[in-house]
């Protein structure tokens, strides 16, 4: 259906388009942000960032809901616990939607509880998947990493919860000094968290794309752009307020990662088409092919990274 030359051309074309899209987005957003800062005041910066984090948390929760529903359905929901991620991620999705619409500052105990529950479920899921692998012959072998319960998948739930938890912390902060989360100024801690999430998710994509033998060159994009975005984000956090160009580049690559997450779903749709029977056989191929809802996790995390930028900018304004 697709020769290797065609796939190479497709990958190159899509990379170019993604770059253009992120550049356009960056241009378009730039003036707005500064104005926001001055006209609406500090509280709104926090709220704005909190909303962005809600959006990220929601996207991640959506990924997990769809993905775990499909994968656990495939596994016949053999164990009752396999319903848990589905329930929690849907809750996280709903609450994130609500949070994003909610114009009020000040945190909300219900949202907070759901987000903390989401983190807990994600951690339990990771432990459960690890335990499952430990039971299989070969233990921590490639075969089990590829095909047994995926170790990385529940972490997306943890990340969704963490983004949400952070958004609640931001809403709580209205005073006129730089708020802190986990001992770090808020911009920095959101930035580091987003970077860690991007790296972890890229690692998982790397593992699964390696399993797919990188048969389509586009499969290299999600293992290279997100780590680059993470690296630039960490550098931005470390470099402090001075380096404008670095910030610009970091935001650009985050935007690239965000659009890439959406394009990734398109590539996965193509992957499904290349399974036997293609989309006509969607009942089987949605399961057998690459997971359609997985790539938007990157978008969610990139949003968190962009929120970190907003907060870092704000920190700069406040810095003496």
């Amino acid at each position: 259906m697709f020769s290797r030359t065609q796939l190479r051309a497709l990958a190159a074309g899509v990379t170019t388009l993604l770059s253009l899209a992120s550049l356009l987005w960056q241009r378009h957003e730039r003036p707005g942000r500064g104005r926001l800062l001055h006209t609406h005041g500090r509280e709104h910066v926090m709220l704005d960032a909190a909303h962005t984090l809600n959006r990220g948390a929601g996207l991640l929760a959506f990924s997990v809901a769809a993905d775990s529903a499909m994968e656990h359905y495939r596994g016949d929901f053999q164990n009752r616990a396999m319903y848990t991620p589905l329930v929690t991620s849907v809750l996280s999705l709903v609450i994130s939607g609500q949070g994003q619409q909610d114009p009020r500052a000040g945190n909300n105990p219900l949202r907070n509880a759901v987000y903390v529950g989401t983190i807990g479920t994600g951690l339990a899921g990771t432990a459960f998947h690890l335990y499952n692998i430990g039971k299989r012959p070969g233990r921590l072998s490639w075969s089990n990493l590829f095909y047994a319960a995926p170790v990385g998948a529940p972490s997306a739930l943890v990340l969704s919860g963490v983004l949400g938890y952070f958004s609640e912390r931001l809403r709580g902060e209205t005073q006129d000094f730089i708020p802190r989360i986990f001992g770090l100024p808020v911009g920095q801690s959101v930035g580091l968290m987003a970077a860690a999430g991007l790296l972890g998710t890229a690692l998982e994509a790397g593992l699964l794309h390696f399993r797919g033998a990188f048969q389509n060159p586009a499969m290299y994009i999600p293992v290279s752009a997100p780590p680059l975005a993470a690296g630039l984000l960490v550098a931005t956090v470390a470099a402090g307020p001075a380096y404008g160009r670095l910030r610009w580049l970091s935001r650009l690559v985050l935007r690239f990662t965000a659009v890439m997450g959406l394009a990734g779903a398109g590539f996965h749709a193509l992957g499904i088409a290349r399974n036997h029977g293609g989309w006509r056989n969607w009942r089987q191929n949605l399961q057998a092919g690459p997971p359609l809802p997985a790539p938007p996790s990157f978008t969610g995390l990139a949003f968190a990274g962009l929120a970190a930028h907003t907060l870092l900018e704000d920190g700069r304004e406040l810095a003496p």
């Binding site: 259906m1 299989r136 012959p137 590829f146 089987q284």
Partner: protein
Amino acid sequence: MSAELYLEALETPRARGGRAPDVFSPTGWVPMREYPLDEPVDFAIVGTGAGGGTLAAKLAEAGFSVVAFDAGAWWRPLSEFASDEEHQQKLFWTDERVCSGDNPLVLGTNNSGKAVGGSTVHYAMVSLRFRPEWFRSRSLLGYGVDWPIDWQDMWHYYREVEQVLGISGPVRYPWGPKRPRYPYRQHELNASALALARACEAQGIDWTSTPLATLSAPRDQAPPCVYRGFCVTGCSTNAKQSVLNTWLPRALKGGAEVRDLAMVGRIETGPDGLASGVHYHRDGSWHFQRARHVVVAGYAIETPRLLLNSACPRYPDGLANSSGLVGKNLMVHSNQAAWGLVDDEIRWYKGPPSLAISEHWNYCDDNKDFFGGYAFMSQGPLPAAWAETQVGNRGLWGQALVDEMEKYNHQVGLKIVGETLPQERNRVSLADERDAYGLPIARVSYSFCDNDLRLINHAMRFLRGGLEGIDAREIWSETEGTAHLMGTARMGDDPRTSVVNADCRSWDIRNLWICDGSVFPTSGGVNPSLTIQAIACRTADRIGDMARRGEL
């Protein structure tokens, strides 16, 4: 579609009028070049399986004019391969043969195919490399004979074939020298394979997922495997990478012509003693294709049969037979199994039959009371094949058979591919009976030697131990059974003790070549198709070199 439509390919030749069936479409065609009969082509190749099909592609791509013949039909897997064990017998070579010896071979399903693409159309896709020492088994291990090819040379060509077939294999292979990464990753293990893994862990030996010629991710026009397990009856998705959907499309693109339903009955030799072309039967009559070179690649029974059937006053004992070895040293692989029952649901029909393997006894020489080695693999016989195993080996019938079949979904099994030694008494010769074309049919005589039996005993003890180690019940041994065919036109360094040289060129007639499983001097404890294809790639490169130097 009616049953007749599914068999249409057997009725009249399809590859003609400048086109051939497109194996990647249910009904389509691809263009094919055609050559006239009366002008000699560079190469006439008899057989389009692992040896012939590979060679046809490589020679055509190197710029030679090539016509390849196959007695079998040109199928389109997507529309003509049924999920029906009985129906798919259409892929097997079931022409009459006379079998004798202490262990008369059962030919057909498990060892020879008749189709464009050869036996690879219904092979189990296990794609293994020889252990390096086997190429010098006489000098290094004390049995059999040495090959005239160096192992490193072969490993170079193994690599080429693995790339072409997109082999899905483990990230790290536990045995032998380090090998380059397989182009595709290993498949998910089914429960049957996990049982092998547990059995190996219980016995304290290594195991791994089997390198297989079926895709674990999409590739060009082929989808990844769907794990429905109909592999040995013909894969209807094209996930299986057979000669039919890898080398032959390349051959056509390179300008080769492939004639289906074309049975070659005789190789003609001219007054100069050289081969001048082949007589073949197609469309109800005999034709003669002139050729500068003739390659025989009909597999280890039909190849010697054709060479013997081509006897003429100048070569009264058959072609390429001055050593008297054509047809001798026929080898098989012993293919015994231990079977058992477990509580867990296994459903071994899911996925390719042999997803896990241990080559431990190919690479470990400790405490062996026999020469050679064996691999063993997890199993997944389809229901009819399993019923046949019960009837054939245990004589179960009626209610007893029904009761046994009830256990099908809980059955596990380990089966060997065991090396057998070359023996001159195991041979292919001509019988008095004639086939539908009026050609003398093959007489195939086969007997295990003591060493072969010691190997089998060792294997059965070990495999039963493995099944006991995973608490299987009702364990029993299948002691009959062979797979694969090799030998009968062995390669070597000395015209007195071999039929062809390392380049597959016959010692006696310099424009007659043999390129298939027949040329193996020893059998090794692994399935042969990867090695056959590697030899064909090497032969094609050597022919190219010789042509450039004017040595053809």
